[in-house]
């Protein structure tokens, strides 16, 4: 699987545009970070299978990715883990060993998509100013 394919797949899985996940000026390099974790944690053969199935989809959208990948007993848990990395920065152990789940890095934690999705900021990482909480947030968020 190439990084480019990983970003395409991630976009459909997360609901966010490729340009959000891998912006032009990519200072955080999250896609590289998560792609590396994937390659470290999952057997090459399985990633190759994921690659083949994804690239073989004639119309790769949310519905087909869901039926062909997310609901697959082998590829599903991996796809969900990719979503979890993007949303919370966590890699969940795939073999029911919760003690071996981990936060990928502090950059991953601070960039978890779940926070901006719910109009908030990661707990412990706010870039806002005093009193911002007194009024409702801007709820315009661009998604796929």
């Amino acid at each position: 699987m190439t990084l480019e394919t990983f970003v395409s797949l991630s976009s459909i899985l997360t609901g966010y545009a490729e340009s959000t996940l891998k912006p032009g000026a990519d200072t955080q390099k999250l896609s590289e970070l998560y792609f590396n974790v994937l390659n470290k944690e999952v057997a090459a053969q399985t990633i190759s299978q994921l690659n083949t199935v994804f690239l073989g989809l004639s119309n790769p959208d949310e519905a087909t990715v869901k039926t062909q990948i997310v609901k697959d007993s082998i590829l599903g848990p991996i796809a969900k883990n990719i979503i979890q990395m993007w949303y919370s920065g966590i890699w969940y152990n795939l073999n029911d060993k919760p003690d071996e789940s981990y936060v990928v890095s502090s950059i991953a934690y601070k960039n978890g998509l779940v926070w901006s999705t719910i109009y908030a900021h990661p707990m412990g990482y706010s870039e806002e100013t005093f009193g911002y909480w007194n009024t409702a947030p801007n709820t315009n968020i661009t998604t796929n």
Partner: protein, 612 residues
């Protein structure tokens, strides 16, 4: 490091809140002070390192930024487990492992829910910041309601020390919101050092919905919570100059507990540094006190034995006896009592324990959490963890019958009871929800999440106590605390009323109640199950508030208290024992501000002692 050659006026055990405060006051008064800190020292990059540990922690609990130290271990809420029904010990029982099973030896019947830190700065690293005063009747529970005991002081006695403590911390608050609540008064002309922290969108929805609503005799009035976090400054009420503590305004990191990333929230590391800057205070870290010694003829304390180490898992590297003219033990409620009860070589019942009350009357503010969904978005995970509460239900004739409570409004959705937003993500994954559908689901649910917490009064009870374990020790061979804990009917009746108040409040808010209350669901949840109890046909479970109180209480009578109102030991006239352990009763307000007020009062008495 051996400081035995240097002559100290005062030796203080504990470099946390109370210890740092006394050290600073003494240092400013020109007294020579040695602070012994059991845990790691303060370093210039401590916060940065703790933040990194926090970011990497899977469970972001109060202790998560602070690594376990096997030579000065601390408890964690992750270690709370059910207590076996018949805890019969046999010599062949495996010794509970600190890493795997936790530091406390829990004897039950209920596990103790609260934790403290053992590092320079102490538990102030992870306090919430709430700086509420007690109400006048909190000081006279026995004479007003025939419950517990009275404090050896009144609200009016403590009022000037509250003023001092609020400036010591740097509290943002509104006098006009607090004044009059159950008889709270302020010194004429007094104002808080900083303007109040603005309410969140959720707070505003509460204020609107609960306007004019009563619970029993009491109004459910929502007020901004005075807090030790920086807001815009006021003019100092005495000097009329703008107040400034040189730290940043709160950025609303929603992370006061376990750690404020920018130190907009006061913590005792500030005071400890200021104490050291007086030039009169030495801090000796990684030095664990294990026995208090006395002169057999005068009964004066004449030394404190300690052990030292260099790394958190490493061996003992030194030992010594710290000596001074006067001694202060400020090691937090559990470690302080443990230290005296371990000091049996000269006094079989322990030093400073002629009353037999050392280690007894352990109290917390057991919390009942209620959570639900608001009818409209109120946007949690924005702002400080809590900015408003309901303080107008904390006192009334009902206290003859059942425990009081205050109500804290949380700004962190369901993070505490369910682990949101992580749990919401995990649940969505189980349901194969992805992509834009996932975004829509998260946006539908999470912005409406909220929780309230009832901090329930716990009356002092002989069944709640700590003793040093006879068989189980830490890495230095120092006994670990053994805790016996349960709730009285008085406290459990408070839980029942908290559920009743939940129903009323949620109805007025138009909120959907999502609180777990069914036996099966409680049992299946590892966070709820250990503390579950059945009372008057309902199931409950509780959370620790982190407010550990009562274990060396002050009083007017040497037979029923450990210290006098100046926190001086009845038994040894050069020994002060300070901290939340000094509280005769815990009432309902978060204890830090009151603890600081009595500590400042004790510091005045101690300086007078040294000068006479």
């Amino acid at each position: 490091m051996n400081n035995s050659e240097k002559k100290y006026d005062v030796v203080i055990v504990g470099g946390g809140w109370a210890g740092a405060t006394i050290a600073k006051k003494l240092g400013q008064a020109g007294k020579k002070v040695l602070v012994m800190e059991a845990g790691d020292p303060l370093k210039s990059n401590s916060r940065e390192r703790y933040m990194d540990t926090f970011y990497h922690a899977m469970a972001k609990v109060p202790s998560s930024p602070y690594p376990q130290n096997f030579n000065a271990p601390r408890p964690s809420v992750l270690d709370i487990a059910p207590i076996p029904k018949t805890p019969v010990e046999t010599p062949n029982d495996p010794i509970p492992d600190i890493e795997k099973d936790g530091y406390f030896i829990e004897k039950g019947p209920m596990p103790f829910g609260s934790t403290n830190e053992r590092i320079a700065g102490g538990t102030s690293w992870h306090w919430l910041g709430t700086s509420l005063r007690f109400v006048p009747n909190d000081f006279k529970l026995q004479s007003e309601y025939k419950i517990g005991v009275d404090w050896p002081m009144t609200y009016d006695d403590l009022s000037p020390y509250y003023d001092e403590a609020e400036y010591f911390i740097g509290v943002a608050g509104a006098r006009d919101q607090q004044e009059g609540i159950h008889g709270i008064t302020f010194t004429e002309g007094y104002n808080y050092p900083m303007q109040p922290i603005p309410p969140t969108v959720l707070d505003q929805a509460f204020s609107k919905a609960l306007k004019g609503v009563k619970f029993g005799e009491n109004e459910l009035r929502v007020t901004g919570t005075p807090a030790g976090r920086n807001g815009p400054s006021n003019k100092h009420w005495k000097t009329k100059k703008p107040y400034s503590n040189g730290r940043r305004l709160c950025q609303g990191n929603t992370n006061c507990t376990p750690i404020c990333p920018i130190q907009a929230k006061y913590d005792a590391t500030i005071t400890l540094s200021e104490a050291m800057n007086t030039g009169n205070v030495d801090v000796m870290a990684r030095s664990v006190a294990y026995e208090v010694m006395m002169d057999e003829s005068t009964k004066k304390i004449n030394g404190i034995k300690y052990k030292q180490y260099e790394t958190r898992k490493g061996p003992e590297t030194g030992s010594g006896i710290a000596t001074g003219t006067t001694y202060v033990v400020a090691a937090h409620a559990i470690e302080a009592a443990k230290l005296f009860l371990m000091s049996t070589s000269q006094m079989p019942e322990g030093i400073a324990n002629s009353s037999g009350h050392m280690g007894k009357n352990l109290m917390d503010h057991p919390m009942l959490l209620s959570w639900g969904l608001m009818p409209e978005n109120t946007y949690p995970f924005r702002g400080p963890l809590s900015t408003s509460g309901i303080e107008t239900v904390k006192d009334g004739a009902y206290r003859e019958e059942r425990a009081a409570f205050r109500i804290e409004i949380g700004n962190e959705g369901w993070n505490w009871p369910t682990g949101a937003p992580y749990s919401d993500l995990t649940n969505a994954m189980k349901d194969d929800i992805i992509g834009v559908e996932l975004i829509e689901k998260l946006q539908r649910d999470l912005p409406r999440q909220f929780r309230i917490g009832f901090l329930i009064e716990q009356d002092p009870d002989e069944k709640c106590f700590i003793v040093p374990s006879k068989t189980k020790t830490d890495n230095l061979g120092i006994p670990r605390p053994e805790i016996n804990y349960s709730f009285t009917k008085y406290t459990m009746d408070g839980f029942e009323k908290a559920r009743e108040a939940t129903e009323l409040i949620f109805e007025k808010l138009g909120a959907t109640d999502c609180t777990v209350t069914k036996e099966k669901e409680i049992e299946d949840n590892p966070m709820f199950n250990p503390t579950k109890f059945y009372h008057n046909d309902q199931w409950y479970y509780s959370f620790g508030a982190g407010h550990i109180m009562g274990t060396h209480r002050m009083g007017d009578d040497p037979e029923t208290s450990v210290t006098n109102a100046d926190l001086k030991s009845w038994d040894h006239d050069n020994l002060y024992i300070v901290g939340c352990g000094s509280f005769p009763t815990g009432a309902t307000s978060n204890p830090t501000l009151t603890m600081l007020a009595i500590t400042l009062k004790a510091a005045d008495a101690l300086i007078k002692d040294l000068d006479s």
